[in-house]
Symmetry: D2
Subunit: 339 residues, 4 copies
Amino acid sequence: MNRREPLGIAVIGTGRMGADHVRRIDRVISGARVAAVVDIDGERAKAVAAGVDGCTAHTDAAEAMASDAVDAVLIASSGPAHEEALLAAFARDLPVLCEKPLTPDAASALRVVEAEQALGHRRVQVGFMRRYDTEYVRLKALLGSGQLGRPLMLHNRHRNVASPPFFTSSMLISDSVAHEVDATRWLLGHEITAVTVLRPAPSAGAPDGLRDPQFVVLETDGGALSDVEIFVNCGFGYQVQAEAVCERGTARIGDGHQLVTNMAGRWGGTIAQDWTERFAQAYDDEVRAWVDATRRGEVTGPSTWDGYAAAAVCEAGVRAMEEGGRVRVDLAQRPPLYA
Amino acid sequence: MNRREPLGIAVIGTGRMGADHVRRIDRVISGARVAAVVDIDGERAKAVAAGVDGCTAHTDAAEAMASDAVDAVLIASSGPAHEEALLAAFARDLPVLCEKPLTPDAASALRVVEAEQALGHRRVQVGFMRRYDTEYVRLKALLGSGQLGRPLMLHNRHRNVASPPFFTSSMLISDSVAHEVDATRWLLGHEITAVTVLRPAPSAGAPDGLRDPQFVVLETDGGALSDVEIFVNCGFGYQVQAEAVCERGTARIGDGHQLVTNMAGRWGGTIAQDWTERFAQAYDDEVRAWVDATRRGEVTGPSTWDGYAAAAVCEAGVRAMEEGGRVRVDLAQRPPLYA
Amino acid sequence: MNRREPLGIAVIGTGRMGADHVRRIDRVISGARVAAVVDIDGERAKAVAAGVDGCTAHTDAAEAMASDAVDAVLIASSGPAHEEALLAAFARDLPVLCEKPLTPDAASALRVVEAEQALGHRRVQVGFMRRYDTEYVRLKALLGSGQLGRPLMLHNRHRNVASPPFFTSSMLISDSVAHEVDATRWLLGHEITAVTVLRPAPSAGAPDGLRDPQFVVLETDGGALSDVEIFVNCGFGYQVQAEAVCERGTARIGDGHQLVTNMAGRWGGTIAQDWTERFAQAYDDEVRAWVDATRRGEVTGPSTWDGYAAAAVCEAGVRAMEEGGRVRVDLAQRPPLYA
Amino acid sequence: MNRREPLGIAVIGTGRMGADHVRRIDRVISGARVAAVVDIDGERAKAVAAGVDGCTAHTDAAEAMASDAVDAVLIASSGPAHEEALLAAFARDLPVLCEKPLTPDAASALRVVEAEQALGHRRVQVGFMRRYDTEYVRLKALLGSGQLGRPLMLHNRHRNVASPPFFTSSMLISDSVAHEVDATRWLLGHEITAVTVLRPAPSAGAPDGLRDPQFVVLETDGGALSDVEIFVNCGFGYQVQAEAVCERGTARIGDGHQLVTNMAGRWGGTIAQDWTERFAQAYDDEVRAWVDATRRGEVTGPSTWDGYAAAAVCEAGVRAMEEGGRVRVDLAQRPPLYA
């Protein structure tokens, strides 16, 4: 049974990522509201709560979860704080969206696995958000369809413009390649059995002492290889690319061209079959813009004048089509209201 | 001042387009709710209203607009019904999102323009939704930046797989090219002064008697040309493409590659600079999937097991990076809960 | 029966184009040699002839054609000089490659047609060299295959960085669009029945008084339309593009991606099936580089050292493949000869 | 000093590769002729020689090299026969183009290096023909320019539709990856210091017992990594791709799009600046087609009628441009000669 009232969410952690989730739940996502925010920095929590209707501010996660207004928990605090927050949510049997990493190391992660098992049902969705990216979703669907045969290799590229000051050589693996670790497991449906890391001489563009780039090869229990170029100071842009090499073809994402395949003597992609696919986002953005402007008491976007001008041009166009030749368009005087 | 309560919207017309807008407002867009639906077919209106919490069904638009729960109106009925609904909304000074066309002909459209002027302020946003498409928005921004110089020509392609049974030769202009008419006016900031339509021999794939494809050339008061290939039975897919040819370069959209420019001896596009740009949609979809599943009482997506496995692989990876060579990954036994 | 001796060619006109043809016949094309060059500027003719073994210089075309060493004629003089040279070649029944235009106007061109008819057999190949471009050849083959159905429209783009000082508005048609006129006739196999020219306001980048760009629409006796954007001062590069829109799909060339089609829900191109296709040019260039260097008394390109180093690495690679793990490569000392 | 007479070449080996070189020297490359062919299969040698004017057939390489007509040697026999042929050429101090591999193993290759040193000058060009491929040449030039900074990694893909029956797992390295070994050394200007080979589970498309695909990582003395996917039964096509990852950007070849770079926030490639670049091959092919047809006694390609029709259309076009509106084209009757 679907509940009808909006879901009341407690957001734990109001740093960059947490604040972005607050904005998303408040302004973008239908069916949910931010009921509480939690931060060890109480002032920051209060500042964020002040921008959201009916949102309370807390410094203690368990206290926030105790509120009747809280139906679910989004954990966006720093990694070492995750375990405690997860266990607190388990204590109240609340559903959790937990930003990656689940916890910073395998031992603590295994403790969380065991705690959830003790509950007897799943409560946690981990924030491996690539599984929700349109291109990854299409790649996964194509691999699952069997059209290309069994996957043999996965070539991954992960490039950032520049790493933040606190970034260490280990974090290239545990923070960045962590995404490809999950993507490899998810796309192939294999577990990873071994890891090799090769290191070219560091780029002159990398901070002193940082081993950047690195080249990682993952082996899986399904006999596949997944190689990852991780380069967090590439300077030119943010790029996440993957090419699955299968028995009968390859499929590549991340070139900004959706999904490009090599198959049976041809390279290329699919063409949308109608406007619901091609312009889905435009329709959402159009209505969102109208709702947002209306709530602000404004009117924006194409005006009745634009509607009139289109009608006048189309009338002339129909005549030109029927009669041949060039047809002049005569518009009324444009009123100042639409200047 | 922003209002805090969700906007109550009356949706007029519950055909394919209207029903899609109801779904959008109910399930996708934050800050609004469907307060009323209107259809001359009362049963259809009731069926749609039944699926939305607190939504009333009506056969009369004015009656719906009279409800206190209605703050704004979305008109998605057939074109000939628009004028009456618009005037009813003006009578109550309600904000309107009106699907294209504003009205079916220039004379009635001009009456709406005059009625809105009589109100003394804009109330209508017309549904030219291409203005909200990411690629069109980027093209408009690039033209506005002046980087390419003044636009001289616009080449447009508009292709549908097949036209519906009721489609006439005139509708290729008034229904399809209408989009390019608005896009031309909006992108260039010019009014259109003349129209020429050229017609090749119809495609064998077009229904008997339909003049498809057609080739339309629009001239503007800014001295630009905008040509449109309209081909509504192309058979292979839905494609909307535009290339602006300017004094110092060209820019093309609709190849599925965002915005590709020719400029100063180079062709190409831009690379995202960080994950907020590249994965914006993935974050929205991730949280939306979690909210929707939670409201259904389900848990989906990456599990704590996935979080644990990633942590275990990353630990091995960090060792491989530090020590060199190949490092085995040893996972715990996978619990049945995550099978 | 094939002749075995090289063909002796008289090149008429030694300007930029003529001199380039002399180089081509002398250095690139097998089976022919430049036997004579002709230019009204006798000094220029002599200078060109001096660089070619056994080549004579002339100021009179008929005199050159009278030589026993001349088997065929390549006309690369200015357009107005073509008719006289063609008739002189006809007088001796010599095969001719005549640069475009055949002659500068329709009346003189018709006289040449009639003169060749009087000979009773074809003697002339006109220099519409797009018919020999790989991409155009592939597009022609695809259209001929019938896979896409009947062609309905052809969209052409023809852009130059900048026009030479002597270029007039008429020359955009007679000099530049002339290529698309032939390409349209050849690709479609239709004759052209009508021409319309539309002109946007000239680009600020065009020389004063030059109507640049122009937009030309050709109609054919097969019911097709061919539109041409001609823009000879586009500033950014040289681009020649064409898209054929057919009943069941479209095919585009000139994006530097060989031939890209839209067909049955997919866009894309073909993949080479073996190295003879992918590396044909590389093999030709490799042997040409070796022959040229050897004739100069030099040795260039990959050395025996390169051959040895590859062998040593491959030996290590085979061991690494068979034994697993990382295998060091031990090279001999590199001799100074290969420094 | 350049020699003027064509170079007389002895081609050793007349199998698939050797026969193709004979055709190339005889029909495509200017300035050289096939003076002799050698094959241990005397009948095959004679059959090939019969198709070439003035070419003698031999079963002994040294005998062929002794001929006064032979100025240079092209070795296209099987690998194990190379060493003897090379030493025979050294004995006569003849220039050699030797197909890859130089010899089948490092020890014999080193003997050849030493023998050439004993001559005191280079005589051999090894057939690593990728160094002559336009895309590789452009990539090498870009790397050399320093624009992208120092190269850190090279990602290579080498895919064949299917391997020949005699192919072994070792040959994936020594026959196929050998190309990437040379390309890596040449592009980077580094020697290779270590090799690692990783093997996914073989593809179901690979012949029984063949370890296909393989994944090879080369390390260089310049601190770079070069990884190679070798997949000789990929089924879908022949693909050779390389991406150089440098300190300030990346450059990729082999997608059929010449050279595509990522640099400073933009991806893309260069646009030709004039027709000499865009249509160089078309001009060569046009003149080659004319020479070949003329030697066969034929006339092909665009006719005087095509020249006339273009002139007539252009005249109408110039009028349409000057006067505005649509101008009809009136052609003369097409003579049967041009039917």
